[in-house]
């Protein structure tokens, strides 16, 4: 195994641990923290792929801003640690696990196994700020502009739902 493979596996393992923690931990704050870990590690996986711009954006936006808001809301809503657990285990849980495993096996058998697994490698310089800026302002300028309408909708809509009086 090369150094980059070891690095990728270590990061991937951390990311998976974080993702599993989000689902498995009962305490909402800890669960959110696992999500932070996942986002943070994901940012580093982007770095190793030679895409520093998207990696740092991932850390700044998701780990730094969105998850802080999540934590803020969780802490405002509920002080006590664990959420109220149902008396008996949810019968759908087993089904969900079985179906999830089935999906994973299907994806593996049909998509991953035939094509083989290769270490993801980025093209040189494709993820630098310059490259991202150039593609945003040439080929992807229209989606970039249209997304501004999306953000406007988000702002106006949330204000309409949240403001006190008409």
């Amino acid at each position: 195994m090369s150094a980059s493979e070891i690095g990728f596996l270590a990061l991937a393992l951390l990311a998976v641990i974080g993702a599993a923690g989000v689902v498995l931990i009962d305490n909402p704050v800890r669960s959110a923290l696992c999500l932070v870990l996942n986002f943070f590690v994901l940012g580093f996986i982007y770095f190793t792929l030679g895409a520093p711009m998207i990696g740092i954006t991932q850390i700044m936006v998701y780990a730094g801003a969105i998850m802080v808001l999540f934590l803020f809301v969780i802490m405002m809503l509920k002080r006590q640690g664990a959420m109220a657990k149902p008396d008996k285990p949810d019968s759908r849980l087993g089904l969900a696990v079985v179906l999830g495993l089935a999906l994973a096996v299907t994806v593996y058998a049909t998509v991953i196994a035939p094509q083989g697994v290769t270490l993801p490698l980025g093209i040189k310089d494709y993820g630098t700020p310059q490259a991202v800026g150039v593609s945003l302002f040439t080929n992807f300028v229209w989606p970039f502009e249209v997304v501004s309408v999306l953000l406007l909708v988000g702002i106006v809509g949330s204000i309409m739902l949240a403001k006190r009086r008409i």
Partner: protein, 504 residues
């Protein structure tokens, strides 16, 4: 860093820009004069929509074109769908003011948000790039999540907004995951490129795009409310304010089917993998939509199930087209969408008259006495409902006839039979609604309190004109979409090659 700035043909994005800018102007008016009469906002919005409509009409005769690095596509199909969306929105605006006032939720923000939702739908139908499709879908969806929860004092409205939001976000995730698979398989998000890429695949590389197409179909199937993904529809249709429901029913469905058509066309080389699935989904959608509608006690809920059923009919038209694009035309779908938008918006407009105070009053008995208060609107309701049933000479009849013939022509006989049977079944609940409107109000718990305003009358008249006269457009629509159809045609002939590849 070397780069070339792509050339831009602004006329292609002008309709979108006009609608989005109208929304911004409307918002500025609202900001400058909060809590005032919304008349000015409505006037500006309708003017903007009228200008867009005229602009789109002039573009109907132009040859297909692309711009912005192939992100925007204008062909007859996209222009026609945009026309439907713009007209439906205009009608929604006409009857919205009285309804919102009655329910005391006359937010000025309703108009800009709806305009932006419309712009999202226009983005969705005027592209064959999955990225743009997703962005448009999100604009449309997020605006609709907010609009569905607009009636904040009603628990049902909040519930519908939350349900729509959570399930919609889930469906968007499916769509994105599918787009990622397709991008991985083909290296492009442009549907023609994907179509090219998937034609020459081997057994080893095939599963990835198949997976992608399936996931994209799940995401779009949610928007179009096809059956396994339809559960949100009745709840959201019932809980959302009626004018929002009308917009949702018409524009959202048009956009979803526009996108679905493009994706299915691009996925035609993989025909054999998804055709069976969609075949059964179409049957299930038609049957479940109509059968569950039979037992409903609420007009909006019943119409929600009816919209599921109509999604099934539309899917039959699409399936027939992708099966044999030489024999039938995509015009059938467009034509049916025109008719569906006219009749469903009209029906919801009349139903919105039943609102009283801060409650929607959409149970069957809430319609009692409607004939006394609003005789014209009630007669029009009969017209819309008979069109929804498919009684000649309304557009609903001709639309269903075209789909029926298409299905027969392409050998989808079982689908045609299911369609015919379902049309007959659906008559029952539509008739129930009609009867409810004519029952006298004595003993009714909540009589109708409001007389229809001028906007309502005009809006209903526009819809009625659509229902009656759209039939005349049938030939034109068929011809336009046939001659200058999509740039990328489905190539189901490749299926044979695929079979060979698989068997090898």
């Amino acid at each position: 860093m070397n780069y070339t700035i792509p050339t831009v043909d602004w006329s292609l994005v002008l309709p979108f820009a006009l609608v989005a800018l109208t929304g911004i102007v409307a918002l500025i008016i609202e900001t400058a004069h909060p809590k005032r009469d919304n008349g000015l906002i409505i006037g500006v919005s309708l003017t903007g929509l009228a200008a867009t409509f005229v602009l789109l009409l002039t573009q109907l005769v132009l040859p297909p074109a692309r711009t912005f690095g192939n992100m925007v596509l204008r062909d007859q199909f996209s222009v026609l769908l945009q026309l439907i969306c713009v007209a439906a929105t205009a009608v929604c605006f006409m009857f919205s003011d009285g309804y919102l006032r009655e329910k005391k939720i006359a937010f000025g923000e309703f108009y800009p948000l709806t305009l932006w939702a419309l712009s999202g739908a226009m983005v969705m139908v005027s592209t064959d790039n999955l990225l743009m499709l997703f962005v448009g879908l999100e604009i449309l969806s997020i605006a609709l999540y907010c609009l569905a929860g607009m009636s904040r004092s009603e628990a049902r409205s909040e519930e519908s907004a939350l349900k729509y939001f959570l399930l919609g976000a889930f469906a968007s995730a499916f769509l994105l995951y599918g787009i990622a698979f397709l991008f991985g398989a083909s290296g492009s998000m442009s549907l023609p490129d994907i179509q090219k890429a998937v034609t020459g695949l081997t057994r080893d590389t095939l599963p990835m795009p198949v997976f992608g197409v399936m996931l994209v179909l799940v995401g779009l199937g949610f928007k179009a409310s096809l059956v396994p993904f339809h559960q949100w529809t009745p709840d959201v249709y019932q809980g959302a304010p009626t004018n929002v429901t009308a917009f949702m029913a018409a524009v959202s469905k048009v956009a979803a089917f526009g996108a679905l058509a493009r994706v299915l066309v691009a996925a035609a080389p993989l025909h054999q993998y998804w055709f069976e699935a969609l075949y059964w989904i179409a049957i299930a959608t038609m049957c479940i939509g109509n059968l569950v509608a039979l037992v409903q006690k609420d007009v909006k809920r019943a119409l929600g199930y009816s919209s599921i059923a109509h999604a099934g009919y539309l899917l039959v038209a699409l399936l027939a087209y992708t099966r044999d694009p030489d024999k039938v035309s995509l015009g059938t779908t467009v034509f049916y969408l025109i008719g569906y938008a006219a009749m469903t918006v009209g029906a919801f407009a009349v139903v919105s008259l039943a609102a009283k105070g801060d409650r929607d009053g959409s149970r069957y008995q809430d319609l009692h006495g409607l004939y006394r208060r609003a005789p014209f609107a009630t007669v029009m309701l009969v017209l819309f409902l008979s069109s929804l049933i498919g009684i000649p000479p309304t557009v609903g009849f001709f639309g269903k006839q075209l789909i029926f013939l298409d299905a027969l022509r392409t050998g989808l006989v079982p689908l045609a039979i299911v369609l015919a049977v379902n049309s007959a079944v659906s008559a029952y609940y539509y008739l129930q609604i009609m009867v409810a409107a004519f029952v006298s109000e004595e003993g009714a718990a909540r009589p109708v309190s409001r007389k229809p305003g001028a906007g309502m009358t005009i809006g209903v008249c526009v819809c009625a004109a659509g229902v009656i006269f759209a039939s005349l457009l049938g030939g034109y629509v068929q011809e336009t979409t046939r001659t200058a159809a999509l740039q990328a045609k489905p190539v189901p002939g490749r299926v044979q090659n695929q079979m060979e590849v698989i068997n090898r």
